[in-house]
């Protein structure tokens, strides 16, 4: 007999057992009231029994639950112990630039308007096999002036974790010369919405390279070091007979037009908490490809000396961060060059200070940068003053004013305000 049946029987017996006594001691009306009360009590007891029955877990249900738990556990363990895993990270940034200006380019008067100037989405794909290999790739997708989508592989490497102190990687990698291009350019990391002057594409700082790299970290007497050495293809040079000089593109390509590759690297030391100092260098050859208007053919001037130097530091002290960087790319002279036989040098440096007004979410930034390049038209000195609001550490709204000083009436000389919304995920 179940608990429910036992309770029902007890209730009925209790009802019946009380009736004879009631017959002698009470009137019919009282008896009727008592019977009704007993009926109500019985109904309540039945309801209570139903509730108990429905809320009780049966052995069968426990068995089903056990199976479900085991299934979830198995799935979780499979995921945790899987040799392969994939992961998606990345960032996005959206800019509005207020630079309603008239300027001159090659002697031609032009007009620049306020505009939503940049929409970039850069997903980063990671595939990891055990603790042996990581494949990673960042794709940059940008909307251009015509409304079309430009896509670019920022980097794409297979990283072999050799041991605790060394990783070998091959593919297209961000240049380890300096810090900005390799680690600081994503919107949610860069504390200003603009890059320092000279650290953009085709300027003083090499962007990327295609080749192989050894990198890692080690400790000497409790002092932390990190290093990166690489070998890769040299930069591409462009130019023409019109006297416009040589343009440099160190963006990483899969061809080499010279007798030797480019070798380089960076070593960083962290002598005390919060401070890192880095030194970088690279050397190799570069080739200049141009179109010969006279002969109507494409020509290449090969094996021009190519040297890169860099130095950087960052220091964090409580809510304050200071950082700075110098970088230069230099081309040796080439007596036989028909485009530009002289030595060419692109150099830039910046110093930046940032202060967080925590616990509020505001942060202020001040930066000075100076870019020098062959030909005075692109030289620029820039003060940048910025204010950031950190909705979260990876979701940031920025506003910055760039005070630019360059050749008068060129776009590089015009001040501008930039607003940016950016996030990293």
């Amino acid at each position: 007999m179940t608990t429910k049946e036992r309770l029902n029987t007890a209730a009925i017996i209790a009802c019946l057992g009380s009736l004879p006594g009631l017959a002698f001691s009470a009137s019919n009306a009282e008896l009727e009231a008592q019977v009704k009360q007993l009926q109500r009590d019985l109904a309540e007891m039945k309801a209570l029994m139903r509730e108990i029955t429905t809320s009780q877990v049966t052995k069968k249900e426990v068995a089903v639950m056990k199976k479900q738990v085991e299934s979830v556990k198995k799935t979780q363990l499979e995921e945790k112990n899987a040799a392969s895993q994939v992961h998606l990270a990345g960032y996005a940034q959206f800019n509005y630039t207020a630079n309603d200006r008239t300027y001159y380019e090659d002697g031609v008067k032009k007009k620049k308007y306020n505009e939503f100037s940049n929409s970039t989405f850069s997903p980063i794909f990671h595939y990891q096999y055990k603790d042996l290999l990581m494949f990673e790739s960042e794709m940059s997708m940008t909307i251009n002036e015509l409304g079309e989508t430009d896509t670019e592989v920022e980097y794409m490497t297979a990283d072999l974790l050799i041991n605790d102190n060394m990783t070998f990687l091959v593919g297209k990698f961000l240049s380890p010369i300096g810090q900005f291009r390799q680690n600081l350019h994503p919107g949610w990391i860069n504390k200003l919405p603009t890059a320092p002057s000279g650290f953009g594409h085709d300027q003083a700082a090499p962007i990327a390279n295609v080749g192989a790299q050894l990198r890692g970290g080690f400790y000497l007497a409790d002092t932390q070091f990190n290093y990166a050495t690489y070998v890769g293809n040299g930069p591409k040079l462009g130019g023409s007979h019109d006297g416009g000089g040589i343009a440099i593109e160190a963006n990483g390509s899969t061809s080499n037009d010279n007798n030797e590759l480019t070798y380089g690297g960076r070593i960083g030391i962290l002598p005390v908490d919060g401070l890192e100092i880095g030194l970088s260098a690279a050397t190799g050859k570069a080739a200049l490809t141009y179109f010969d208007d006279v002969e109507n053919i494409e020509r290449t001037e090969k094996n021009r000396d190519y040297d890169v130097l860099g130095a950087d530091f960052v220091y964090n002290f409580k809510k304050f961060q200071a950082r700075g960087e110098y970088i230069s790319q230099e081309l040796g002279s080439l007596r036989t060059s028909e485009v530009d036989p002289s030595r060419n040098k692109w150099s830039s440096w910046y110093v930046q200070g940032a202060y967080k007004f925590s616990p509020s979410k505001w942060e202020s930034v001040l930066r000075y940068s100076d870019y020098d390049a062959p030909g005075i038209l692109v030289d620029q000195k820039q003060w940048s003053l910025g204010l950031n609001y950190l909705f979260a550490n990876n979701i940031i709204g920025k506003i910055a004013y760039d005070f630019n000083d360059a050749t008068k009436d060129t776009l590089s000389d015009e001040d501008k305000i930039t607003l940016q919304m950016t996030y990293g995920f």
């Binding site: 605790d164 990783t167 050894l214 990190n226 290093y227 380089g264 964090n316 616990p359």
Partner: protein, 208 residues
């Protein structure tokens, strides 16, 4: 110029050689789980995490990602930031101990550590073995985001029950990426141990 370039080549070669020498005797890279002969040091991980990541970017909250995601993120950052395998393992230990969800406990005296035996250490010993790496010997905090215990009207002015609960269950100041994991990251500490270290903290830095 030729001499200059030769010097550069030598520097690069030297870097490779140095790296090779320092790594010749190292174990194969292994992040999860760590090699059997190595013990992960969660407190060291917290310090390396705070010092290393802020070189470039704002700290991401441990609770932002699951252990599964952190595994790939830490491997990526190990390569990018030039961390050692040990750094990565210690950081992973700290992060993964810090991103567990804290379940609400209505009763602050309720203990989930009845089964944890007391360590037998004094409050001072526990502080110096577990807490000091983040909070510092002077209680002012040695890494970004760690509160200053000596500050007037600061963290230690909360009630003992609240402070005990924060140590036991872990604590994160709203808007601050730094997290103190449950039991300061040492799951071997019993409730009695936590009370002992709290008493020591209050005697040393308490201002209430």
């Amino acid at each position: 110029m030729t001499i200059y370039k030769k010097q550069l080549s030598r520097i690069v070669s030297g870097l490779v050689l140095t790296g090779s020498l320092f790594t010749a005797g190292s174990t194969m890279a292994q992040l999860f789980p760590p090699p059997a002969d190595q013990v992960v040091d969660l407190n060291r991980g917290a310090k390396v995490w705070a010092n290393t990541c802020t070189r470039c970017h704002n700290l991401r909250e441990p609770s932002e990602f699951s252990d599964y995601e952190w595994k790939a993120i830490i491997t990526h950052m190990r390569i990018r930031a030039g961390l050692t395998g040990r750094d990565a393992r210690d950081i992973a230990a700290f992060i993964m101990a810090s991103n567990d969800p804290v379940l609400p406990a209505d009763n602050v005296s309720e203990s989930a550590s009845d089964s944890i035996p007391d360590s037998g250490m004094s409050g001072e010993q526990i502080f110096k073995s577990t807490c000091i790496s983040c909070h510092g010997a002077n209680g002012k905090g040695v890494i970004p985001g760690v509160p200053d215990f000596t500050e007037a009207g600061g963290r230690l002015t909360k009630s003992d029950d609240i402070l005990f609960k924060n140590i036991r269950d872990g604590f994160q100041t709203p808007g601050n990426a730094m997290v103190m994991p449950p039991r300061g990251g040492n799951p071997k500490l019993s409730d009695k141990d936590l009370k002992a270290v709290l008493k020591y903290l209050l005697s040393l830095f308490g201002t209430k």
